[in-house]
Symmetry: C2
């Protein structure tokens, strides 16, 4: 079955106190995005990789590929004004036969097991997303007040989120709506459920400078 991954990297790096958008920052000698792309090729050498970037970053990315002699095949798509629009651009002229994963460019630590679990469950159920338990106490805020909620009823959601391509293309025909925080929420708004599968705790989204230190340490350890 044809497998595609759309890697979305629209970040401008505001939270990193960095001029370089976080997807381009080097970890252990390689830009974050290249680590991410490598993961999917490690999962399957036949996967089609689509990379969604802000158009003004195309040249910079291509220079980076030259510098690092990065020759893994991938096609570039232009980012949109929100993540929804970026994914929609990445879905252009995608074959409806097959499975499509949507993945955050700044998650270089998705394990092969996580990627495989998601593709397998999506093949069976139409949609699957990786989640992890919450290890911390979690509180719900309500204006000035807050109260503890039962963490056993909550999960933290990661990517890749994997879907039957035909169903996801349909879902992205909807009008954009503020409640779309991830692809699962777009998909579910068509009335279809998503399956939760086990993610891996190391699969962090690089957002802060400390996350870079963490990702570097984990990648060095072969995670």
């Amino acid at each position: 079955m044809q497998k595609t991954v759309i890697i979305v990297a629209g970040g401008s790096g505001l939270r990193m106190n960095s001029e370089t958008p976080k997807q381009f920052i080097e970890i252990n000698g390689l830009p974050v995005l290249m680590h991410t792309i490598n993961r999917f090729y490690e999962f399957s050498s036949n996967i089609e990789v689509r990379l969604v970037l802000p158009q003004h970053q195309f040249d910079f990315w291509e220079a980076l590929c030259q510098k690092h002699n990065f020759t893994k095949t991938h096609e570039l798509y232009s980012g949109g004004k929100t993540r929804f629009h970026s994914v929609k651009n990445g879905l252009q002229s995608l074959s409806p036969n097959g499975l499509v994963a949507i993945h955050d460019g700044v998650r270089p630590l998705a394990s092969i097991g996580t990627i495989r679990n998601c593709f397998m469950a999506a093949e069976e159920y139409g949609a699957a997303i990786p989640v992890i338990d919450v290890h911390e106490t979690i509180r719900k805020t309500d204006g000035l007040y807050s109260h503890t909620v039962d963490r056993r009823n909550f999960r933290l959601v990661q990517t890749p989120q994997v879907f039957d391509a035909r169903l996801l293309i349909d879902a992205y025909r909807q009008e954009y709506n503020d409640s779309f925080t991830d692809d699962a929420s777009v998909f579910e708004s068509t009335g279809k459920p998503v399956m939760l599968v086990d993610g891996n705790r190391e699969n962090i989204k690089i957002t802060t400078p400390a996350d870079l230190i963490i990702a570097s340490a984990l990648l060095s350890q072969g995670l």
Copy 2:
């Protein structure tokens, strides 16, 4: 104002696939618990440190202190059958005048800023706990189903949780109850509110082997 910290380290290390309870595992040459104790002395050289350990670990801990020539003053208290009971033991004969922090032994990365924020807010409001925003999408599960909730309404809770000592001693006079997941929930069940203050994202609770790698990297960077 007298400041005390009760460091609770009851963990048996089951999730670590490790024979050594996680509070004793060495990171960068020093057991986790010593890093943790050092943080509080860095915050204030006058702080009273109480360490709650399972009684059968006392000898092992004292041998570790000798091995590492660890001479920071701290008094040992026996752990109980739950965290609630351990904290209650640690509160024995505490002076009600002053502030008391309850801290997880396996959080060696609480920043001095986080500790200070909590003590300052507790002095003013009676109780304060450090929280961080949720960076991931978060879902609530309900049997077989699950749905996305608005992450802006949720916070992840860390320690130290700091309280007016008199009020916390009163709160711990209650009967134990399964809903007590942290000290804040014990405190709040007496009808009093806790103030939320900014924690630091690096202040992780070491639970898994990957957390050890992360903590090692962050401590090496001086975080």
